[in-house]
């Protein structure tokens, strides 16, 4: 994760802090919607396209896809591996477990298929299926939570 801070200084100027460095830029929005950024190393023209949490950024002939991170959500997922998300947009083709089932690490829980490719979602550790948010045949987007796993009480 790379936090970005922008402080407007007026008339299109900003103070930018990113990767522990701080510099100033001037931003102009061109007629075709592209951004012209003037900075101490020169001028760059960029095209930015919004798509949900993603931003597609074109600089010259290079493309970058950056994604806005929901800090609270990222923290939860990192903390407990309890929420398994759809790896890509697709169709849920198989649901191999039911709510309340105990599952073993590595066990296949469901299958998502897109463009002739099947992707199995497996349990990252032993646990119990607390909540199942997918039905077979259902279409899902990428990054959508499909299964909530609950830790089994030890002992």
């Amino acid at each position: 994760m790379r936090p970005v801070e922008l402080v407007p200084l007026g008339s299109g100027r900003y103070r930018v802090t990113v990767d522990q460095s701080t510099f100033e830029i001037t931003v102009e929005v061109l007629e075709d919607g592209r951004l012209r950024l003037t900075h101490d190393r020169g001028v760059s023209v960029l095209q930015v396209t919004d798509s949900d949490r993603k931003r597609f950024v074109r600089i010259g002939s290079a493309d970058f896809v950056v994604e806005r991170v929901d800090v609270a959500r990222a923290g939860r997922a990192r903390g407990s591996e309890d929420r398994l998300e759809s790896p890509m947009p697709g169709v849920v083709t198989k649901v191999l477990v039911a709510e309340g089932d105990d599952v073993k690490k590595g066990q296949a829980l469901l299958a998502v298929e897109a463009m002739k490719m099947e992707h199995l979602i497996r349990a990252p550790r032993d646990g119990r299926v607390a909540q199942l948010r997918a039905r077979a045949g259902e279409m899902v987007n990428g990054g959508v939570p499909l299964v909530e796993l609950q830790a089994l009480e030890s002992g």
Binding site: V4, E5, Y14, V18, T49, V57, D63, M88, P89, V91
Partner: protein
């Protein structure tokens, strides 16, 4: 000639076929699934018929619905494109049974070339070399055959395809060990427990020959294509002619392809595929359809292969002169897919909100989407093919690199960064690759490139657009968020798929 033709496909190939139909004054009938009702191939057609829900089985593989659309529209012929029903003998038979013309070979030709055993024996009959191997149910006999040709060998289902259950074995012990498992996969996957063992051809190139036949025994070739740049047996970049191919070997390959097609009195256009290693070549299979990569052949021969298909079907003869086709210049194609090369090439879907295909002299783009079009999850992720043409290979490659740089697809992640790096690899520039080179060597190099952090300005621009929408909202009174705090709230950002 036909007055009306139905295109039983979608995406770039349906658009490309429609283009030739319009040039010939033939009305183009599109078919579509429910999710494709606004797709480009529908917008370009003269008439459209809905097939059914998105799932291919209910739409583009639904033979009944396609025949009903053909009847309702009054189309006289059906072009199957590639994929879907293009190599389905039952479909070809059903089309002919309905009194329509199938723009492809006969059902029997599709059937015999689709059966690996039958295809191999046709090749053997005309003296085209096949990969040395043996079929059987007795591991001892297979081991004896393997000892004769030499390890490593490939063990696979006799009727299998697509690498399913395929194992590389290095000696007799490994062969005996893998035998039972392969038998099981063969029986469950293909309904026949027969196992086939064949020599593993290492460091091979993929060379294929475009052929055309009149259905009565006259067959001509339209040069070779090289499709050695593959990832997991999927072609990525294709070109014509092949480079650094010994002229005598090339002639033998072209002749073998023509002989195979003539043996079955092939009708229409097709492709005979070979593996080439050093001075040896081996028959792989014959594809009884228009190939994805057909544009490179069209550019170096000047022949429109879809027009050729229509003329063969309508006139029952090959509308080509007797003289051998000679290549004019060099053409190279790259396939643009909706897949994330930085994340195990996972297929992507969504809305391609901003699309700009490259333009310029000596460029051809066969695309299935424009800005704002949906990329549905249900179908093959190919979005477009970008093809460059030049008097020689280095210039064609340079033009392709430029064209890939100019291409822009935002809203759906594509393999464009992968293609841009690939066409600039020194091994590709000097044509020193084999069919496994991408996976063996190039993917590591690309991972390092894809894993490099985005430049600071990319993050700044992304954060700025957040601020812009927040400030628009503030101006319109929807939100009390002052500009300053909106900007402070922007970020953090990351490159998806890499952590």
């Amino acid at each position: 000639m036909f007055q009306k033709v139905l295109i039983a496909n979608r995406g770039e190939i349906a658009c490309r076929i429609g283009g030739t139909l319009r040039e010939m004054g033939i009305r183009a009938v599109a078919v579509c699934s429910e999710v494709d009702a606004d797709a480009l191939h529908v917008r370009l057609a003269d008439e459209v018929h809905l097939l059914g829900p998105a799932e291919p089985r209910a739409s583009y593989l639904n033979i009944e619905a396609i025949l009903a659309a053909a009847r309702a529209s009054g189309a006289q012929a059906i072009h199957p494109g590639y994929g879907f029903l293009a190599e389905n003998a039952d479909f070809a038979a059903a089309v002919e049974g309905a009194g329509l013309v199938f723009l492809g070979p006969t059902p029997e030709q599709i059937r015999s070339m689709g059966d690996k055993r039958a295809a191999r024996s046709i090749a053997e009959r005309v003296g085209a070399p096949v990969v040395p191997g043996a079929e059987g149910d007795d591991p001892g006999a297979l081991a004896r055959a393997a000892a004769k040709t030499g390890y490593p060998m490939l063990l696979k289902a006799a009727l299998g395809g697509g690498g399913k259950g395929m194992r590389v074995v290095h000696d007799e012990a490994e062969l005996r060990e893998a035998f039972e498992g392969t038998r099981r996969v063969a029986l469950s996957g293909f309904g026949d427990a027969s196992v086939y063992v064949e020599k593993r051809i290492e460091r091979a190139r993929h060379i294929e020959v475009q052929i055309a036949g009149d259905g009565q025994g006259r067959v001509t070739h339209l040069l070779e294509r090289e499709c050695t740049l593959q990832r997991r047996h999927q072609k990525v970049v294709e070109e014509s002619p092949a480079s650094n191919l010994d002229p005598a070997l090339r002639q033998r390959i072209l002749r073998a392809a023509v002989d195979v097609a003539r043996e079955v009195r092939y009708r229409g256009v097709g492709t005979v595929e070979f593996l080439v290693a050093r001075d040896q070549f081996y028959f792989l299979e014959m594809n009884t359809r228009l190939q994805v990569e057909h544009p490179v052949t069209e550019l170096v021969t000047g022949i429109d292969l879809v027009r050729l298909q229509l003329e063969i079907a309508a006139e029952g003869r090959l509308p080509l002169g007797k003289e051998e086709v000679v290549p004019r210049g060099h053409a190279i194609e790259a396939r643009v897919y909706a897949e994330d090369a930085a994340a195990q090439f996972l297929p992507q879907a969504g809305t391609a909100s901003r699309v700009r295909w490259p333009r310029g002299a000596f460029l051809r783009v066969d695309a299935g989407i424009e800005s704002g079009d949906a990329v549905p999850v249900h179908y093959d992720p190919i979005l477009a093919k970008i093809v460059a043409f030049a008097p020689d290979r280095p210039l064609a490659l340079a033009r392709l690199a430029r064209a890939l740089d100019d291409a822009l697809v935002h809203g759906v992640v594509t393999n464009l960064p992968f293609l841009r790096a690939l066409v600039r690899a020194p091994e590709v520039e000097r044509a020193g690759v084999d069919t496994e080179w991408i996976e063996r060597e190039f993917l590591h190099a690309f991972a390092a490139l894809a894993g490099a952090p985005a430049p600071e300005l990319a993050l700044v621009a992304a954060a700025l657009t957040d601020g812009r929408s927040a400030s628009r909202a503030a101006r319109s009174g929807e939100s009390e968020t002052p500009r300053e705090t909106a900007f402070h709230a922007a970020g953090p950002w990351r490159l998806p798929g890499l952590d």
